[in-house]
Structure formats: structure tokens, C-alpha cells
């Protein structure tokens, strides 16, 4: 499942993940992400941080509050390379992160790292 407010990045994620053989469900922000979470029942979540309505931190906290998804791998996709943002994402419950600029290889590598 991917959560990003940018149509560009959403489509890139979709193409990259589809090419790597993943089925992908998209959400445009944290709120939509939480809304579709149960139905999507994803194996791994890739989320942006900076989003309207509900940002990545809030979204991750929301996912972790759901008993069913408390241990699901969540990767944060963000241009922020500073440690503070990463730390906040981690505290919210993120499993790992992928530093933009978006690179398909990095994305797939990171997903493979956190999934069996």
C-alpha cells in the first residue's frame, strides 16, 4: 500500500511496484490511508511524511494502533534527510525509510529488507 499526496510519486510507486510484482493499493493522504487500511490488508506500507489532512507521522501512529497492523513493515518515503524527521517517524512506529530522490532500486531494496 502506498500513501502519498503527490500524483507523480503515487504513479511512480505504482509502476515500480507493479514491475517488481507487487499488487499496489494507493491512498492520497493519511486519512484515506487509514480508511482503506483494513480492506487493503497490505503486506507492507510505503508512506510520505508531508501530506495534507493527516501527515505520515499521524498515519503511522494510526496504523500501529490497529492490533492487526501493529507489526506490519512501514517504510517512510521522504525527501527529508534530516535526522529529526526520521526520528519522529521512528517514534511513530516506522520500520524504515527511503530517502528521496525517488529511485526504484532503493525502493525495492528497502522493501525486500523488511519483508520475508
Amino acid at each position: 500500500m502506498t500513501v502519498d499526496d503527490s500524483r507523480t510519486i503515487r504513479n511512480m510507486l505504482l509502476v515500480t511496484l507493479n514491475n517488481a510484482g507487487f499488487e499496489t493499493i494507493q491512498a492520497e493522504d493519511g486519512i484515506e490511508g487509514l480508511e482503506v487500511l483494513e480492506d487493503a490488508n497490505p503486506d507492507v506500507i510505503v508512506t510520505d511524511i508531508n501530506m495534507p489532512r493527516l501527515d505520515g507521522f499521524g498515519f503511522i501512529e494510526g496504523v500501529r494502533r490497529n492490533e492487526k497492523f501493529r507489526a506490519i513493515p512501514i517504510l517512510v518515503l521522504t525527501t527529508e534527510s534530516d535526522a529529526e524527521k526520521k526520528n519522529r517517524a521512528r517514534q511513530a512506529g516506522a520500520t524504515g525509510w527511503i530517502v528521496k530522490p525517488f529511485d526504484p532500486t532503493k525502493l525495492i531494496d528497502a522493501i525486500e529488507r523488511v519483508t520475508a
Partner: protein, 765 residues
């Protein structure tokens, strides 16, 4: 979908983000201090940067990065978004738009300008005084600026520098396949890995980390289970196991640490090179060597890695304990869920946020994106439907005179429905003029900068909707008019102050709907038109005779003549070779009219009236020399039946009609269009009084009026070729093609003499 399509999406999105950015900055400029406004502005730049990075658009990324950094200062209240700051930011938004366009269409940007803005943005972010453009002329400073300006791209590409010592996910597992290095010569590392329970709650798994580690080289693992308490004290969520790992690899310590990148905070990790400085003391704990077997993972074995067979029964016990604990947990949870949700501040807040957002999402009108081609196809089909319906009605009326028949009633309903469908389809293409108005804000800023004038742009009615084609074609004439208004209309601050006005000039742009058209007004509070100068220039250019007696309005409208410029010197702006005549032509090409009114000392107002759509037209169907023509209803002021006494001949060909004691030139449409070789007798026809360009009136002579109806416009140029005097064509209810008259061009075809004629008439009395 391929990368090119995604890139197209990116540029579309950029346009939206740039509009969002500018409107947000303008709101801040108006004193809006809502954090969400600042956030939206930040997000817009951030989003552009993110997408640009993915496509390797380095110029765009580096500018967006500096811009974003400064915006972040505003977001975190380190920088007050005052007028000065926002001025820099609005200019930066312009440059960002330029860079986006260059990234899409090629070309180059004004490097000096973007470098200057980067310096200004950095100065704002650092809280240092703004470097002035005059003090630092671009060419002299450009080389100096290089070391000062960080290279954000490089920084983004290698974030390790300012991270906490780890590299991002930069290595590829592919590197580790293939040729096996000679094991014995490889450096050996001892690794101690003690996960904390947080590791598991964040979705990391020790097994996956060990798997990745094993890919670095030859590895053996010892699992320590000495921390495992007796079952009654077992916390199912705690981490009890830890591992001691021996790894032989030539990838280095960094590669080892990067495996634990995501887990660094949630485990104790010691990495030491065997034989190196920090040799770990041999653990006193009894350890069993465990062969690390990846196939266990592949087979989805439930047995945790590093657990030997002897201990599996222990693990089984542990699993049972976990299961039991979880069951117990669930029961407690079910009972306590409601209470917990209420008690947990975070939970309640999040729930509230979710509710709010849900309300917000239901309040916002949902939208879908549709390809423009599809809409146009629909519009075309509806056009055909309208024509078909009209033809059907007509043939029914011709064949069945009985107006009460159910067929007639059905037809009326069909007509009603068709009209509604047509209106709805047109509404799909209608868009607010806001984006065009926003672009004008930028034009004003640029011209104000170049001319050294202080200008405020006020816009009204930005949400007025009009057909997309009209909007698209509006930008160019409007830009030129804005340039003129600032360059020629407004005075310099000194002159303004001397005239008792504020130093800052105001340009006002408004849009509104008026009787089925959109009216756009552009006014300035400048000096107004210098009529003496315009008149003199017109005489010099042989546009009018020296003794012509023109009304103020007529003099003002002279500026729409080709090659007319009253600027004393050709400035940077007026040197672009576009005059108001071109503006007028583009407005006319849209089926619009443009007028100017001016008050000396108080400014000028341009008024444009444009059709809401270019697809349909309300027209009067008339007959001229056996041909059926359609005259746009908006052009017609009134219709009248001329009486012989009202017709006056003037010279060999000119005729005038007196209407309520004023004279108006008669124009025989049939003659102008070469439908007939001699002029028709006005008394036998009908005169359509139309308003022409200069505001003057003409009486167009036609043979008869058939009626009024809405017609679907079919481009003549697209299907045939341009015909002078004809704007377009349409298909009537009886299936015949009718030409739509271009009133202004018919009038101007008859104009040459009549302007002078009017002048001499006016002089005569």
C-alpha cells in the same frame, strides 16, 4: 503507463502546485497567518522538489530546495512572512515556474535572476540582510556565489553527511551474489546484536536482519537465551533472545552497520573487527554454535532463527505462553477498549482528527480528471444532437400542423432536454478565470520591477467561469494589456506623488457575467489617455485628417489602430512589437469586443466582453440575396424597418439612415459580401443597428429576418477556409448550412470612407 506519462503527470501537478503556491503566498501577503496556509505553500514546493528529484531535474531541485528551506523557517516561526520576505518569495515562485517550464519545454532561464533569488532566499533563512541586486550585479558576483551556495542536489544524493552516521539504503543485494571470495582471507567481525522489544513493535524482525547480514559473507550465529525467564514471568512482548555473530566479509563495517540502519535505535549493536582494536572479550556465557540456514526462511519455518533443535520444545512452550497471553489480552482489551480510547489523549485526538477529516472529505466536492478530447467529443456530439433535434422538430411541424399532438409535446420535451444537456456539457468545459488572473499577478510584479514603479494588483470575480478555450486565449491579450497599463498607464512614483496620488499605483482586474457573456475589466489609476498626443499621432499617421472633429471616446479608441504607440521612447516593454491592435484582433477572434474609457488624471478602463463559450451562439437568422446568414445577437442593438424619408444618399455610394435625429451609415451586407452587384433598396429590407468597434453605430441592411435561435458553431477555417466577413458556419434545423456574419469585419470593410464621412458630418453640424 511509462515514465514519459508519469513525467507529464508531474508537470500537470507542478502547474497545480505552482498555482497553490502563488495563491498561498498572496494570502500570506494579505495578512493571512493560518498555519495551514503556510503548510500548503511549503507542501507545494516540497512536492515539486520531490517529483523533480525523481526525474533528475537538478536545476529545479536545487532551487526548490533553497526555497523550501526558507519556507521551513516561516513554518517554524523563525522567519516572519512580512512584505519584504513575501516579495522575495513571490519572485521565487515565478522563477520556480520558469524552471518548471524550462524542464518541460527546454530553453533557458534567467540565470542571474535565479542566482540572485537563491542568495536572497538564503539570506532570509540565515537571518542576514538581503543582498541587493544593485549592490551585487549578477555577472560580478556569480562566481563568488558558488562557494556560498550549497549544492543541494549533491546533499540530497548523499545524505549520509548530515545523518546520524549511517548511509541510506544505498547498497544492492545483487552485489553479493556471484563470485565467492576466498573465505579464509576475508576480514572477520564479531557482532553482538541485542534487540529491544521496540524493534518488533516497529515492524522490524530479527530474522530479516540476520538474513541480510548473512548475505554479506560467511556467517555463524550463536543465540543467547539466558535472559528467557521462567514461564510465569514471561512477557510475550519482550525481547529475550540476543545473538552473537561471527561474520567474514570484505564489505567492511559500514556495510554491516547499514544492515541495521532501520534497527539502530531499537537494539544494542556492537561491531568489532577480529584482530582489530576493539576486540570483544570472549563471552563467559555458554554458547551453542548455530549454522545459519536461509532455507528455514524460505520454507517459512515457524522456528525462530538461531534456535537449535533441543530448544524447540522450549520455544513451543513460549509460543503457547504467548498465545495464552494474547487470548487474555484480547479479553481485557474487549472490555477495556472503549475506556481506553476515551482515556488515551492521543487516541481521542486522533479519532477527532479522523472525524474532522472525514467531514472535510465529504464537504469537498469530489472531482475526476477527464481527458479534454473526450469532453470535446461529447460537446461535438451534443452539437449534432441539437441540430438533429431542430431538424426533427422542423420536419414534424411541416408534416403535421396539429400542434396538440402527442408528438409535438414529446418534441417540446426533447427540445427542453437537449437544451439542458447542452448547458450541462458546456459547464464541463467552463473553468474559473482564476489561473489567468494569477498569472497576471506575476506580469505586474515583473513590469513593476523593470519600470521601477510600485504597483498593486487587485482582482475581483476570479471564480467567474468561462469556456476553457476562451480562458486559454485570454492570457496573451490580457498580459499585453497589463504591460501597457503598468508601463504606459501608471505614472512613476514621483509623478504620482506630485499629482497628489499615493506612490503605489493600482491595477484592477475584474470579471463578471453579464447577459450571457463574460465581461473583463482592466482599470488603472494612472494618468489616463493623453488625448492631445493621441490625436496628433493619428494625424501624423494619416489615420484622421487634421481638421477631424472626434469625440473623446473616438480619440481614445484610436489606440486600437495598427502601429499606434504613444510612448515617447520605445521601452523594454513596448519594444516587443505588439500593439493594442493585436490585442483587439485576438479579442475579436474570440467573438469579443473591447472598449476603452479614460479620464485624464484618473486612469483608464479597458472593457472586454467575451462569449462564455465558443461552441454555441445566439443568433438572428436573416436572408440576404437569397442566402441565409446568422448575425450574432450580441452585436445587434435594435432592428428597424427603414422608411424612404429616413434614407439619405451621400456621394455616389454612401447612404445614411436617420434614426431619432442622428445619422448612421447604411451598410448593405449583400453588397459587401459580393452576393449582389448593386445595392438593394433599403426600404424593401430590414436594418439591423449594430454597435461597431469604436462605439459608433452602423445599420446593416438585410432582406428579411427569419427568426432568432441558438446555433452550433462550426469552424469554417477547420472545414473550408477563412472567408472575409464570415466568422463561422452552422447547420440550421432544415439541414442547410448558414454562414455566421463577422459583424466587425463587415463594418470595417465599409469603414475607410465612413470614418472620414462621420468626421465631416460632425464638422458640418
Amino acid at each position: 503507463m511509462d515514465m514519459n506519462e508519469i513525467k507529464e503527470i508531474f508537470f500537470q501537478e507542478c502547474e497545480e502546485q505552482l498555482a497553490e503556491l502563488e495563491s498561498g503566498l498572496l494570502r500570506l501577503n494579505d495578512g493571512d497567518r493560518d498555519p495551514e496556509t503556510v503548510n500548503a505553500v511549503f507542501r507545494a514546493v516540497h512536492s515539486i522538489k520531490g517529483g523533480a528529484g525523481a526525474f533528475g531535474l537538478d536545476d529545479l531541485v536545487s532551487f526548490a530546495h533553497v526555497f523550501e528551506t526558507t519556507l521551513d523557517c516561516v513554518r517554524s516561526n523563525k522567519l516572519e512572512p512580512n512584505q519584504e520576505v513575501l516579495k522575495v518569495m513571490l519572485k521565487s515562485a515565478d522563477v520556480l515556474a520558469d524552471l518548471t517550464n524550462v524542464a518541460r519545454d527546454g530553453g533557458s532561464v534567467d540565470q542571474a535572476r535565479s542566482k540572485q533569488l537563491i542568495r536572497e532566499l538564503e539570506a532570509l533563512a540565515n537571518g542576514t540582510p538581503l543582498p541587493t541586486a544593485s549592490a551585487a550585479p549578477a555577472p560580478a558576483v556569480a562566481p563568488k556565489a558558488k562557494p556560498a551556495a550549497p549544492a543541494p542536489v549533491a546533499e540530497a544524493a548523499a545524505p549520509a553527511a548530515n545523518d546520524q552516521g549511517f548511509t541510506p539504503v544505498a547498497f544492492s543485494f545483487d552485489d553479493f551474489g556471484g563470485d565467492e571470495p576466498e573465505v579464509s582471507e576475508l576480514p572477520a567481525y564479531d557482532i553482538i546484536f541485542k534487540p529491544k522489544s521496540d524493534l518488533y513493535t516497529k515492524g522490524n524482525e530479527a530474522t530479516l536482519l540476520l538474513r541480510d547480514l548473512s548475505r554479506l559473507g560467511e556467517m555463524s550465529i550463536h543465540c543467547d537465551m539466558s535472559d528467557l525467564p521462567s514461564l510465569d514471568q514471561l512477557d510475550p512482548e519482550a525481547a529475550y533472545f540476543w545473538w552473537k555473530i561471527s561474520l567474514k566479509t570484505d564489505k567492511g563495517e559500514d556495510a554491516i552497520r547499514s544492515v541495521f540502519e532501520f534497527a539502530e535505535w531499537d537494539c544494542d549493536l556492537e561491531v568489532s573487527k577480529v584482530g582489530g582494536e576493539g576486540v570483544v572479550a570472549e563471552s563467559d556465557l555458554p554458547m551453542q554454535p548455530v549454522p545459519f540456514d536461509l532455507s528455514a526462511l524460505d520454507a517459512e519455518s515457524d522456528a525462530p532463527l538461531g534456535v537449535t533443535e533441543e530448544e524447540e520444545n522450549l520455544v513451543a512452550q513460549r509460543d503457547e505462553a504467548i498465545a495464552a497471553a494474547e487470548t487474555a489480552n484480547n479479553v481485557v482489551q474487549m472490555a477495556g477498549n472503549a475506556a481506553r480510547a476515551a482515556a488515551s489523549d492521543k487516541g481521542a485526538a486522533a479519532a477527532a482528527a479522523q472525524n474532522n477529516a472525514q467531514q472535510a472529505s465529504s464537504a469537498a466536492a469530489p472531482t475526476i480528471r477527464v481527458d479534454l478530447d473526450r469532453v470535446d467529443r461529447l460537446i461535438n456530439l451534443v452539437g449534432e444532437l441539437v441540430i438533429n433535434q431542430a431538424m426533427l422538430s422542423q420536419s414534424v411541424i411541416e408534416n403535421d400542423a396539429n400542434g396538440t399532438s402527442s408528438i409535438n409535446m414529446g418534441l417540446e420535451e426533447l427540445q427542453q432536454l437537449t437544451r439542458e444537456i447542452q448547458d450541462s456539457v458546456m459547464a464541463i468545459r467552463a473553468q474559473p478565470v482564476k489561473p489567468v488572473f494569477q498569472r497576471m499577478a506575476r506580469t505586474v510584479r515583473e513590469i513593476a520591477d523593470i519600470t521601477g514603479k510600485s504597483v498593486r494588483l487587485v482582482t475581483e470575480g476570479e471564480n467567474t467561469e468561462v469556456d476553457k478555450t476562451v480562458i486559454d486565449k485570454l492570457a496573451e491579450p490580457l498580459t499585453h494589456m497589463i504591460r501597457n497599463a503598468v508601463d504606459h498607464g501608471l505614472e512613476t512614483p514621483e509623478k504620482r506623488l506630485a499629482a497628489g496620488k499615493s506612490a503605489e499605483g493600482t491595477v484592477k482586474l475584474t470579471a463578471k457575467h453579464r447577459s450571457g457573456r463574460i465581461v473583463i475589466e482592466l482599470s488603472d489609476d494612472g494618468a489616463g489617455i493623453n488625448r492631445e498626443k493621441v490625436r496628433q499621432k493619428a494625424i501624423d499617421n494619416d489615420l484622421i485628417t487634421a481638421d477631424a472633429n472626434l469625440s473623446d471616446e473616438e480619440i481614445d479608441n484610436l489606440i486600437f489602430h495598427a502601429g499606434f504607440s504613444t510612448a515617447d521612447k520605445v521601452s523594454d516593454l513596448s519594444g516587443r512589437g505588439v500593439g493594442m491592435d493585436v490585442v483587439k484582433r485576438s479579442i475579436q477572434a474570440l467573438g469579443g469586443r473591447i472598449n476603452i474609457s479614460s479620464k485624464p488624471g484618473h486612469g483608464s478602463t479597458f472593457t472586454m466582453s467575451l462569449p462564455l463559450t465558443l461552441a454555441v451562439l445566439d443568433g438572428m437568422v436573416v436572408t440576404v440575396a437569397g442566402q441565409t446568414l446568422v448575425v450574432p445577437l450580441t452585436a445587434i442593438v435594435e432592428t428597424l424597418q427603414p422608411e424612404a424619408a429616413a434614407i439619405h444618399s451621400f456621394g455616389a455610394t454612401q447612404r445614411l439612415i436617420s434614426i431619432r435625429n442622428s445619422f448612421c451609415p447604411l451598410v448593405d451586407v449583400g453588397r459587401i459580401l459580393n452576393f449582389r452587384s448593386t445595392q438593394a433598396n433599403p426600404v424593401e429590407g430590414v436594418a439591423l443597428l449594430v454597435e461597431s468597434e469604436g462605439g459608433g453605430q452602423r445599420a446593416l441592411m438585410v432582406d428579411a429576418i427569419q427568426g432568432q435561435r441558438q446555433v452550433v458553431i462550426k469552424s469554417l477555417e477547420a472545414n473550408y477556409t477563412h472567408v472575409p466577413g464570415i466568422a463561422a458556419a452552422t447547420i440550421l434545423g432544415d439541414g442547410r448550412v448558414a454562414l455566421i456574419l463577422d459583424v466587425d469585419s463587415v463594418v470595417s470593410a465599409s469603414r475607410g470612407q465612413s470614418l472620414q464621412l462621420e468626421a465631416s458630418l460632425a464638422a458640418a453640424g
